[in-house]
């Protein structure tokens, strides 16, 4: 015999004037303006858009996803408005990982800020460091030694491969395939161990310094790198072969979450997500920095603008990154790895911006100096934040089961979104 759940007892006592009890939970008092059910959200709408979203049409329902959903790639809550199994509209709720990094940076000195920006996008930390470090160097008018630039590009491209390899695994996992993530973790672990030998940390490297890098190339890093490079291409092709030749995967991902060129530009999208729509925008070529003008590589683009195109494009980029690493090793000059700078730096008052092409798009940093030893303001621009916003434009009309697949194909990292 099934046990019956007794109804919750009504809270005793009189109800204050102007309120009545909710039917869902008698302990909740509702203002008389509301119906007998608790409204979602439990406060009056603050904007036009919020009022529109939280008004249900005929046959529609809300479904709350997250914040602890395993495939939201971090802590993200998404309120979905559904009509049957079709998504009508979404309202992402952010802030679960917000730690106020920009305020912390305003209260730390210039060198300390580098470790603060590391955990933003914990999958591609070197790019998070690169943007503010370059902005500080422009404030200081300091020239970075060539060997340091080569080491930066070498380590950052390795980081890009690690990030794209992880994307491959997560994307397949969100489409229901378990094997690729096990394979891509092999790849990623080799690179991460390599970078640990170079920087001393597995994920939050804290490696770039204002005017150079923290340590020179060492024997362990070079031997691990040489070992990996000899079989990298074959290993990556084995991993992508699992998916590229899998009919279920290809037919599922093709035509999913299509965005056209003009919309992508209107949504401020950058990186592989923009290049998958046919815009050849890559800062390494379109606005060259560091030593990229001296290197020979291509900017792959595709024109479909769907999830499959975004996936295939990232796999192309891995091959280009291997080309860049080859050239870095070949052309690596001798010399110092740090510019001569005092321990305590006080840039003269001014403003500087730097944009870095990362695995997810443009990482930006806008630094303002007031002449003291702490940044007056550092605005961090994160591509994940921008791309998560575009999910709202991509999802409507798709099936609920495709929600995570489309979100994963844009590759947002919540640490960067929430700052």
């Amino acid at each position: 015999m099934a046990t019956q759940v007794p109804p919750r007892p009504a809270a005793p006592g009189a109800v204050p004037a102007g309120t009545h009890r909710s039917q869902d939970d008698p302990n909740v008092l509702l203002q008389d303006d509301y119906d007998f059910y608790e409204p979602i959200p439990p406060y009056p709408p603050r904007t036009e858009r919020e009022a529109e979203f939280y008004t249900l049409g005929d046959g529609e329902m809300f479904l709350n996803m997250g914040p602890q959903h395993p495939s939201t790639h971090g802590v993200l809550r998404v309120v979905l408005k559904l009509d049957g199994e079709r998504v009508v509209d979404i309202d992402p709720v952010l802030g679960y990982l917000h730690r106020g990094v920009e305020k912390l940076i305003e209260n730390a000195d210039y060198h300390q800020t580098i470790s603060q920006v590391d955990p933003l996008e914990y999958i591609s930390s070197l790019f998070c460091e690169w943007a503010p470090v370059t902005a500080y160097e422009r404030l200081l008018d300091v020239e970075v030694p060539r060997r340091a630039e080569y080491i930066r590009v070498l380590s950052a491209e390795l980081n890009r491969i690690a990030s794209h390899a992880l994307f491959l695994g997560w994307f397949a996992l969100d489409l229901g395939g378990l094997t690729p993530i096990l394979w891509s973790f092999i790849e990623r672990d080799e690179i991460v161990e390599m970078l640990a030998a170079l920087t001393g940390q597995r994920m939050l490297f804290n490696y770039f310094r204002i005017g150079g890098v923290n340590g020179d190339l060492n024997h362990e890093f070079m031997s691990r790198l040489g070992d990996w490079m000899s079989r990298a291409v074959a290993q990556i092709e084995a991993g992508t072969g699992l998916l590229n030749e899998n009919e279920i995967f290809v037919r599922r991902a093709a035509g999913l979450g299509v965005i056209d060129q003009q919309s992508a530009l209107r949504y401020c999208m950058t990186g592989p997500n923009l290049r998958a729509t046919g815009v050849p925008f890559d800062l390494r070529r379109m606005h060259p920095y560091s030593i990229y003008p001296e290197l020979d590589f291509e900017i792959p683009t595709r024109t479909e603008g769907d999830s499959l195109a975004r996936y295939l494009l990232r796999m192309e980029e891995i091959k280009q990154s291997i080309r860049i690493i080859d050239q870095c090793l070949e052309q690596m000059p001798d010399g110092p790895i740090m510019a001569k700078l005092p321990r305590l730096i006080r840039p003269r008052p001014g403003r500087a911006w730097s944009g870095i092409e990362g695995p997810r798009g443009v990482y930006g940093a806008y630094a303002i100096s007031d002449g003291s030893d702490q940044p007056f303001r550092l605005k961090i621009h994160d591509p994940s934040f921008i791309h998560l916003q575009a999910v709202g434009a991509l999802l409507p009309g798709n099936l609920l089961a495709d929600t995570m697949a489309i979100m994963a194909s844009l590759d947002p990292v919540m640490g960067g979104v929430d700052k």
Partner: protein, 181 residues
């Protein structure tokens, strides 16, 4: 540094720019009032010889005396980043027009600037807090919002008596003996 861009901008927006266009490294900076923002950004976005189609960043800034909104734009027509600073917003009631009619992606960036600085973007149809909870009332990145003092001086510091003192010999009598026993 693209000198021609500075000259082009100064000629096109004569009387609108505050002062000259400033250039340093690969960046060109122009300052305008918030009232001219819509007109200037629309011209920068639409006109074929400017064509700044990409909004790279939107940042709020509190200088301590006034509020600013800073836009970073990219175009294929120049080798420079363009920085447009809308300056002179009052700290009591900062207001600026929204640019979501040009870039839909500016919506969340404006929400972030509202959340952190309290800048009201007129025309943004979803201007609510994005990181902080809905019942939060202050704007954390303003310069008059102080962080709590360092941990040593905070009321919660020093759970044990010995930790509150500078050296063990300064500890209250009895405390030291107890810890040694």
């Amino acid at each position: 540094m693209d000198r021609a861009l500075a000259r082009r901008l100064e000629a096109r927006f004569e009387g609108v720019l505050h002062g000259h266009a400033r250039q340093r490294h690969d960046q060109t900076e122009v300052r305008i009032g918030a009232g001219d923002l819509v007109e200037v950004l629309r011209a920068l976005h639409d006109e074929p010889e400017l064509k700044f189609e990409m909004l790279a960043d939107l940042a709020g800034v509190d200088t301590g005396t006034e509020m600013q909104v800073v836009y970073h734009l990219w175009s294929a027509t120049t080798t420079d980043w363009l920085r447009v600073i809308a300056e002179g917003l009052s700290r009591d009631d900062p207001r600026a027009p929204s640019v979501t009619f040009l870039w839909a992606g500016a919506e969340w960036m404006e929400r972030e600037a509202y959340d952190m600085f309290g800048i009201t973007f007129e025309g943004n149809r979803d201007l609510r807090r994005i990181y902080m909870p809905p019942d939060y009332t202050s704007f954390p990145l303003r310069k008059d919002f102080y962080l709590p003092d360092d941990a040593a001086r905070s009321p919660g510091a020093g759970v044990r008596h010995v930790e509150r003192t500078k050296s063990p010999t300064d500890a209250a009598p009895g405390v030291l003996r107890q810890t040694r026993a």
